[in-house]
């Protein structure tokens, strides 16, 4: 029996280990190492209505146990995705989660509407209301519960494809935001996006990144991410997709114990392009070693009675 099979919002995933948005492109870049049908789902780069060019260089900088990025959601736009990338993902039998980015509520709505012709091919839409690297939209939508509720309600009305709201950690109370999203009837929550940060070059005495600020990801943010999953999964009923600094199967298991029903792995793939396989294997091993029959037996065990 497949101990890792997960059914979330009506979709069957072979395993709960997904790529995360922005670290896996549209699935082709790592095809020599990870066939896209072998991970639970491909979560695409944040995709907007038209092409976005992204931020000036430098866009990435390594920090202690983490990295800052300020890509600025460079992407070729939704039409390009539907025409060039979706067919590849369909042909390769991938489960597809499209990460959606917009500057305005109307842009989000238009993208979600355009996707409705693909209800069988796009398995979920992950609404990115948490990108710290764009000046308009992105995180501005995700930090106020009223705006979160309003935007997601609007999108939910036009979508037959399940919606996942991707939450920002750059808020005072993530539980409040999570509840606002849940009350807008979204099907799932994913957390966390990157933490906003900066690096300064002591030689030039100026910020390193072209965009000045960047988003911190990698092992450095894991305890923060884990805590937010631990809190939100207790406060909400919808399934939680956890991410942030997952480097190996031990990290992944911590997220399941904290209450995640699936996980996404991002920064780790830069270090080890085969990390998804190793995590899948490690979770299976853990379940066997501890005599669990299915992944669902361990979800939220850290807080369940």
């Amino acid at each position: 029996m497949n101990k890792l099979k997960q059914t979330l919002f009506g979709v069957d995933f072979n395993n709960p280990v997904f790529s995360d948005s922005g670290t896996f492109g549209y699935g082709r870049d790592y095809e020599d190492f990870i066939p896209v049908n072998e991970i639970g789902a491909v979560v695409t780069k944040g995709t907007s209505l038209v092409e976005w060019k992204g931020n000036p260089a430098p866009r990435i900088y390594e920090t202690a146990a983490g990295m800052l990025n300020s890509i600025g959601l460079q992407n070729p736009g939704i039409e390009h995705f539907l025409l060039n990338d979706l067919p590849y993902l369909i042909e390769k039998n991938a489960k597809v989660i499209l990460n959606v980015a917009g500057h305005t509520a109307e842009q989000y709505e238009e993208i979600v509407t355009k996707c409705q012709d693909y209800t069988q091919q796009i398995h979920a839409l992950e609404i990115n209301i948490s990108c710290p690297n764009v000046t308009e939209g992105g995180m501005a939508f995700g930090t106020n519960p009223d705006i979160v509720y309003e935007l997601l309600t609007k999108l939910k009305k036009v979508s037959d494809i399940p919606l996942i709201a991707k939450l920002s950690p750059n808020v005072t109370d993530i539980v409040e935001i999570a509840k606002a999203a849940e009350s807008a009837q979204v099907d799932s929550l994913s957390l966390i996006n990157t933490l906003s940060g900066i690096a300064i070059d002591i030689k030039t005495k100026k910020p390193v990144l072209g965009n000045i600020y960047g988003g911190l990801s990698g092992p450095a943010i894991k305890p923060v991410a884990l805590k937010m999953v631990y809190q939100v999964s207790q406060a909400c009923k919808v399934p939680i997709i956890g991410m942030g600094g997952i480097m190996n199967s031990t990290d992944a298991i911590e997220f399941f114990l904290a209450g995640a029903s699936a996980i996404q792995v991002g920064t780790a793939v830069f270090v080890n392009p085969k990390v998804h396989h190793e995590i899948i294997k490690g979770i299976n091993q853990y379940l066997s070693d501890n005599n669990y029959t299915h992944l669902s037996d361990i979800i939220g065990l850290s807080w369940k009675e």
Partner: protein, 256 residues
């Protein structure tokens, strides 16, 4: 595109060439057979060393008979310091070959390298030699000690002109100044260059195709993260790891 590989390999040698520059060798048959000049690898670093992202290093040379791959690198920070601490038989993990490669379609090229930027040029010259092309090289360094790197090119069929910023036995000046002199006396059909950005910006403007090999900070090295962006003259961004590292100079903005 060449198929990317991911493998652990034992270091054969890791020897000091001069100052802070090392030559590392490892062996891999499939890799040696597929890698093209201008390509690079992403070398694993050590988490215990406060680094975790891989570091991009060019292919310096390939010894076909023995399937030996060579990397020439300069210690500039934590990652490269860690590389220099490795001993024969220590393991490293290699992701590659990555990126595009130098065009081999020109017959009379001028090749310009500055400092550690000479790294991707040796294997380029070796492949040119296979096509019976014997290029002129300008190798510029800060000082005579750094210029010891140029000795590593002695087994190739090419004319090497060395210059140094500090006064030495060589031409006194930077590689672009020497290039200007050489370009006056010769008819070339192309220029290939790798070195610090400031050098690439100052390559004499000529009407022949000019190829530059660029550097940017990298995370993935395979085109997935869109981190290693360089602006093009039409205002879009290309990525050094996938669209490069070799670009036609006229298409990219070197001082965004």
């Amino acid at each position: 595109m060449t198929k990317k590989m991911l493998f652990d390999t034992q270091i054969l040698t890791n020897e000091l060439i001069c100052d802070d520059v090392y030559l590392m060798k490892f062996k891999n048959e499939e890799f040696a057979k597929t890698v093209r000049p201008g390509q690079f690898v992403q070398v694993s670093t050590d988490f215990n060393n406060q680094t975790f992202l891989r570091r991009p290093i060019s292919i310096f040379d390939v010894e076909m008979e023995n399937n030996i791959i060579m990397l020439l690198y300069k210690v500039v920070g934590k990652g490269t310091k860690y590389f220099s601490s490795l001993k024969p038989n220590d393991n490293i993990n290699i992701l590659g070959p990555l990126g595009n490669s130098f065009s081999l379609e020109h017959n009379n090229p001028l090749i310009i390298g500055g400092g550690i930027g000479v790294a991707p040029l040796k294997y380029l010259v070796r492949e040119m030699n296979k096509n019976n092309i014997k290029p002129d090289l300008i190798l510029g360094f800060s000082c005579a000690e750094q210029a010891k790197m140029a000795r590593l090119f002695n087994d190739l069929d090419c004319n090497i002109n060395i210059c140094t910023d500090k006064k030495s036995e060589y031409f006194h000046g930077n590689s672009c100044q020497l290039a200007a002199v050489v370009l006056e006396d010769n008819q070339y059909d192309s220029i290939y260059a790798c070195g610090p950005n400031i050098m690439l910006q100052n390559i004499p403007q000529v009407s022949i195709p000019t190829y530059v090999s660029l550097e940017e900070y990298m995370a993935c090295g395979v085109g997935a993260c869109l981190g290693c962006a360089v602006k093009t003259t039409v205002g879009s961004y290309v990525h050094v790891c996938k669209d490069g590292p070799v670009f036609e100079a006229k298409g990219v903005i070197l001082n965004e």
